[in-house]
């Protein structure tokens, strides 16, 4: 596992979601927090949704960390998994809502680039209109931030 120094300053964190639909804002809040911390070599983008031109941004990163909320049951926690990414054979996501795997495949197909890729899922309780976060999601955001810090420092080893 590489740490941020070995990534040659090219870690990209992408957090997405709708910040007026309750816990759906979680990914963006994480990205905002990462950006505010100004870690050397780490760039954070907050998005409403994943869109195709992000494939160009992926060409600039050795490691990409995607962050999003997911509808969770009571037992669910923060999810952390390494993405197969460019090697995925899954059928692409429908409509405009590109998935991380789709972006990774597009970056590989169009630009020959295959960054190391991770997905962090933050448990969400409510997607109702509003800008408040549930306690569970706020807690999940803090866990996600710690996970990202461990990732960029090379302290996480997750089986492929």
């Amino acid at each position: 596992m590489k740490n941020v120094g070995e990534f040659n300053g090219s870690v990209l964190v992408i957090g997405w979601g709708n910040d007026l639909l309750g816990d759906d804002a979680a990914g963006r809040r994480v990205a905002q927090e990462i950006a505010a911390r100004r870690w050397p070599g780490v760039e954070a983008l907050e998005m409403h949704q994943l869109t195709p031109e992000l494939a160009l941004r992926l060409t600039e990163a050795e490691c990409v960390i995607f962050v999003d909320a997911y509808p969770a049951s009571e037992e669910d926690g923060v999810l952390l998994r390494r993405l197969a990414g460019a090697d995925s054979t899954d059928t692409p996501g429908v409509g405009h809502m590109g998935r991380p795997e789709d972006l990774l495949r597009m970056a590989a197909t169009l630009y020959g680039t295959k960054p190391e890729a991770w997905m962090i899922g933050i448990p969400a309780c409510s997607f109702e209109p509003g800008d408040a976060l549930s306690g569970r999601t706020r807690s999940g955001i803090q866990q996600a931030l710690r996970a990202i810090e461990n990732l960029v420092r090379g302290n996480i080893h997750v089986p492929r």
Partner: protein, 473 residues
């Protein structure tokens, strides 16, 4: 026994919807409906908010076309302030709007619709998508990625961020343009022109492969509505409303957009959250009309920029009157990208564009304001009422996609009657029905209205109109 075929979700559009097709005993399509299944409620939950928050709030209706809402809302707020914004502010808002037009149309053409156009309507669904396009036509896919990135970059450099920027504000914009940003954008324009022109050439070269689709993709007489300049030119940011019929005869011209309610009515059907706007003098549903790129080019006398006008002349050769087939929304979209690029150059080269005077200041001076702009998908109306404290008491949003609702429904029926037959339903046939919707590039995240209860139902009707099964959620 009749049956109902459901396509749910409709793929490669913004937002979520459902289509139901009702077959008779002969397996022929009798009825088709385009159901919008999202409830957003912005018109209701903005009540009580300060009016100056509306641009930032309504921009969050959508992640693809936030700029359109930002600008229409800012214009409505300008009316509430009773101000004329500085000329430089209008130019900058227009540049922002052109950036939005470029990125939105690029997304629609390259990522949502070109898989059908370039890979074929009958291609395997596993590859008939943007990744399949990237695999078979990587150069075209790269063009699409870059062009959309360019539009988004204009937005980010002007407004500070790509999605939901708060830069357009009541009275103008919040900060002036720097020479550095102006020059960076202008440097990228030539490549954008190259991409757009070769994409237009490509599209024209494959048009003859889609004779059937052109014939039946929502190809029927309707009115066409959109903004124009005072001399009838293509207009995306401001202007007055023009309406033409299928023969391009003038039905209404230079209509005051703030009086839209005098000639646009809104019907509600129980089976969709999307309202049904119609042209009042002709009643509902005969007052069916279309908005968006196809309507704008049918309405305008000229684009007013040389390259786009050259393309418009070619476009006009498709039909003697108005171009009726909704398949040609794709063509019109590409011409509008060209127009937007020419506008970006013109606006950024104006000597006034770097002016520091970009905002007029005032308190609320009116209790009612209407802002209208041409979103990439069509005419967008924001109508607000406020109390004397400046708090929103009522809001009405007529979204571009809503204007096209009647036409989309009729278009689905027309395509379904042509391509959906008997007991063997091919994947390509179902995709053609969806493709009709994609011609309109609907943004369903925006379009749903504020009132009503959950209306999502799937009903199975026999030939006598009796419901024999129903599922609700």
């Amino acid at each position: 026994m009749s049956k109902t075929i459901t396509i749910d979700p409709v793929t490669r559009i913004e937002g979520h919807s459902k289509i139901t097709l009702h077959l008779n005993d002969q397996g022929e399509v009798d009825e088709a409906r385009f159901h919008v299944t999202q409830f957003r409620g912005f018109e209701k939950f903005t009540e009580g908010r300060p009016f100056y928050e509306m641009p930032a709030i309504t921009a969050r209706i959508c992640g693809i076309c936030p700029i359109s809402h930002l600008l229409a809302s800012a214009k409505a707020c300008d009316e509430l302030l009773a101000v004329r914004i500085p000329p430089a502010a209008e130019r900058l808002r227009r540049v922002l709007h052109m950036g939005q037009t470029i990125q939105s149309h690029a997304l629609s053409f390259f990522h949502l619709s070109s898989p059908d156009i370039l890979l074929g309507m009958d291609a395997d669904p596993a590859v008939r998508n943007v990744l399949g396009l990237a695999g078979k036509y990587p150069d075209i896919a790269r063009d699409g990625v870059w062009l959309r990135m360019f539009g988004q970059q204009i937005i980010e450099w002007l407004a500070g961020k790509r999605v939901h920027p708060a830069w357009a504000v009541p009275g103008g914009v919040s900060s002036p343009l720097t020479a550095d940003v102006r020059d960076r954008i202008l440097e990228m324009v030539p490549r954008a022109f190259d991409i757009t022109r070769r994409t237009l050439d490509l599209f024209r070269s494959v048009l003859n492969q889609f004779g059937d689709e052109i014939r039946v993709f929502a190809n029927f007489p309707t009115l066409f509505m959109g903004l124009t300049t005072p001399d009838g030119g293509l207009e995306l940011y401001d202007g007055n409303i023009r309406i033409r019929d299928e023969a391009r005869r003038m039905v209404g011209d230079q209509l005051d957009p703030s009086s839209y309610h005098k000639f646009i009515g809104e019907a509600v059907e129980p089976w969709s959250y999307l309202k049904m706007p119609f042209y009042k003098p002709r009643g509902y549903p005969d007052g069916i009309y279309r908005v968006g790129p196809l309507a704008r080019l049918n309405n305008a006398d000229q684009c007013g920029t040389p390259m786009a006008d050259q393309e418009l002349a070619e476009f006009r050769k498709l039909e003697a009157g108005a171009v009726l087939s909704s398949f040609h929304f794709h063509y019109a979209r590409l011409i509008e990208i060209l127009f937007a690029l020419e506008q970006v150059e013109l606006l950024l080269k104006h000597p006034d564009v770097l002016s520091a005077r970009v905002r007029a200041s005032a308190g609320p001076n009116r209790n009612e304001g209407v802002g209208v702009a041409e979103a990439p998908r069509g005419t967008l109306i924001h109508h607000y009422r406020i109390n004397d404290e400046g708090l929103i008491t009522w809001a009405n949003l007529i979204i571009a996609t809503g204007h096209n609702n009647l036409a989309m429904n009729r278009g689905i029926l027309q395509a379904a009657k042509e391509f959906v037959r008997g007991s063997k339903i091919a994947e390509g046939a179902l995709n053609r029905v969806e493709a009709v919707i994609r011609c309109y590039d609907p943004c369903l995240s925006c379009s749903t209205h504020a009132l009503g209860q959950m209306a999502l139902r799937l009903q199975l009707m026999d030939p006598n109109g009796n419901m024999i099964d129903e599922k609700c959620r």
